[in-house]
């Protein structure tokens, strides 16, 4: 499925700079994520990959530059973006006190599609057992099951989705991601493991890193 140049841009970032603990992680970042495309954010540890993802989903507001969701900027567009956002972070977002089925219905899925999704991450038979009795791998698959729901949200933001997955799991995930892209969805993700995903673009944060000399971070004073 080729991303035609005219396909609508879902998420656009202009001249983005992020700061954490008084240190500038990167600056001058520009990219746009059209619908039906996927971008993997590369960069050394601590280069700010997670900070970038958290900024794009509106969880951190220490940034300069512009983030546009379908043309209109944050924070006005934040609510609209969150209506079509699926975010999976380092922590899966699975409640130990609930069963996998209840977890998925908590994310707004109806029973039938939740069962379908759980089956596709081969959790058949575990739908009704409490998550704290399942293994870490199974819990991870419950977290990823949200991507297998029929009406999955349009924008997927995934932080290291492949961790703790076996070979079969990775393959199933890659297949589901490309199916999502075919349906016009877009994906933004970070991953240490290589990903076999047709049409995957890359951004390397180290191209936008600020060199760590003694810069006057305090900024020139405004009044002479």
């Amino acid at each position: 499925m080729s991303v035609t140049s005219k396909s609508p841009v879902v998420l656009q970032v202009r001249d983005l700079a992020c700061e954490r603990d008084g240190r500038r992680l990167f600056e001058g970042l520009d990219f746009s994520l059209p619908s039906g495309a996927a971008i993997q954010v590369k960069g050394a540890n601590g280069a700010g990959k997670t900070t970038l993802l958290r900024t794009l989903i509106g969880s951190s507001s220490d940034f300069s530059g512009e983030i546009l969701w379908r043309g209109n900027p944050f924070p006005e567009a934040l609510r609209g973006m969150r209506e079509s956002l699926l975010y999976i972070g380092h922590r899966g977002g699975v409640r130990a006190g609930l069963t996998p089925l209840e977890n998925l219905t908590w994310y707004g899925a109806d029973n039938e599609s939740a069962l379908q999704a759980l089956d596709r991450v081969d959790l058949f038979g575990f739908e009704h057992s409490l998550c704290h009795s399942l293994s870490a791998g199974q819990n991870r698959r419950v977290a990823l099951a949200r991507m297998f729901l029929p009406q999955a949200p349009r924008l997927w933001v995934l932080d290291e989705p492949l961790t703790a997955l076996d070979v079969a799991g990775v393959a199933a995930l890659e297949k589901q991601m490309s199916a999502h892209m075919d349906k016009g969805g877009s994906i933004l993700l970070t991953s240490h493991q290589p990903l076999a995903l047709p049409g995957l673009d890359f951004i390397d944060l180290s191209d936008f890193v600020v060199d760590e000399s003694f810069t006057d971070i305090g900024g020139e004073h405004v009044f002479s």
Binding site: S84, L86, Y87, R91, G93, R95, L98, W106, G184
Partner: protein, 237 residues
């Protein structure tokens, strides 16, 4: 390959849980963690049973101390169970998902605080006549004690949520949460004990209960907002 728009567009607005759904799920979780409900109650009863052992069984002395002691113990029981309000969700990542819901975080925090009240404050209020009996509280005070605890512990849960949210990402939040929240509990404690004392002395106590209700209304309106802000700040840690 035909252009992208031919396939059915991916669903736009995801159906995320509203206030009622959140309340139901939180209630379900609270009922499943039986211990979290029983602990504050057991704490409440055992400590109050210790009081006569410490102070001596003279009925009139106990009667004088009963309103204050019952209220202080209710306050401490609520505060002890406050810490677990967001901690579990923080550790498994659902707290972060709550902040990403399209509708304001206010409703999720309100739902959690109300569930915390139903799980701790309400049972304390229901149990209070038994404790009043043990501490020889005059009979006129029973009804007022129940109403004041009923209203007061709700405010305590709502205000305590702010402290829980501010300390959710810390390793050992217990003491700090108490330190932060204690001054904010003072007005509720003063009017709660004041109402029961007035009822015992035979004065009208509707004014104190009205103020407690006003404090509850203010807490219900403002505390979840502050707690929501605190959650977003703590998650950035």
């Amino acid at each position: 390959m035909s252009s992208v728009d031919v396939q059915p567009p991916v669903s736009e607005a995801r159906t995320s849980p509203g206030f009622v759904a959140l309340f139901r799920i939180e209630m379900l979780l609270a009922l499943r963690k039986r211990a979290d409900i029983a602990n504050p109650l057991l704490f409440f009863v055992t400590v109050l049973a210790l009081l006569p052992l410490g102070v001596g069984p003279e009925p009139d002395l106990l009667a004088k101390m009963a309103p204050g002691m019952i209220w202080v113990m209710a306050l401490l029981a609520t505060m002890l169970s406050q810490e677990s309000l967001f901690r579990g969700d923080f550790e498994d990542g659902t707290l972060e998902q709550l902040t990403l819901l399209p509708q304001p975080l206010y409703f999720a925090v309100l739902a959690k605080s109300l569930v915390h009240w139903v799980a701790t404050g309400l049972p304390l209020a229901l149990l209070s006549p038994l404790l009043a009996l043990m501490l020889n509280l005059p009979v006129e005070g029973y009804l007022c004690l129940f109403i004041s605890l009923f209203l007061g512990t709700a405010s305590l849960s709502l205000i305590g949520a702010i402290g829980a949210a501010l300390t959710v990402a810390l390793r050992r939040p217990g003491l700090l949460l108490a330190l932060i929240v204690m001054p904010l509990y003072v007005p509720v404690l003063i009017f709660g004990t004041g109402a029961v004392q007035a009822a015992i002395d035979g004065y009208a106590y509707s004014a104190q209960l009205a103020i407690l209700a006003a404090l509850l209304a203010a807490a219900a309106a403002l505390a979840p907002l502050a707690a929501a802000g605190a959650i977003r700040i703590s998650l950035d840690n």
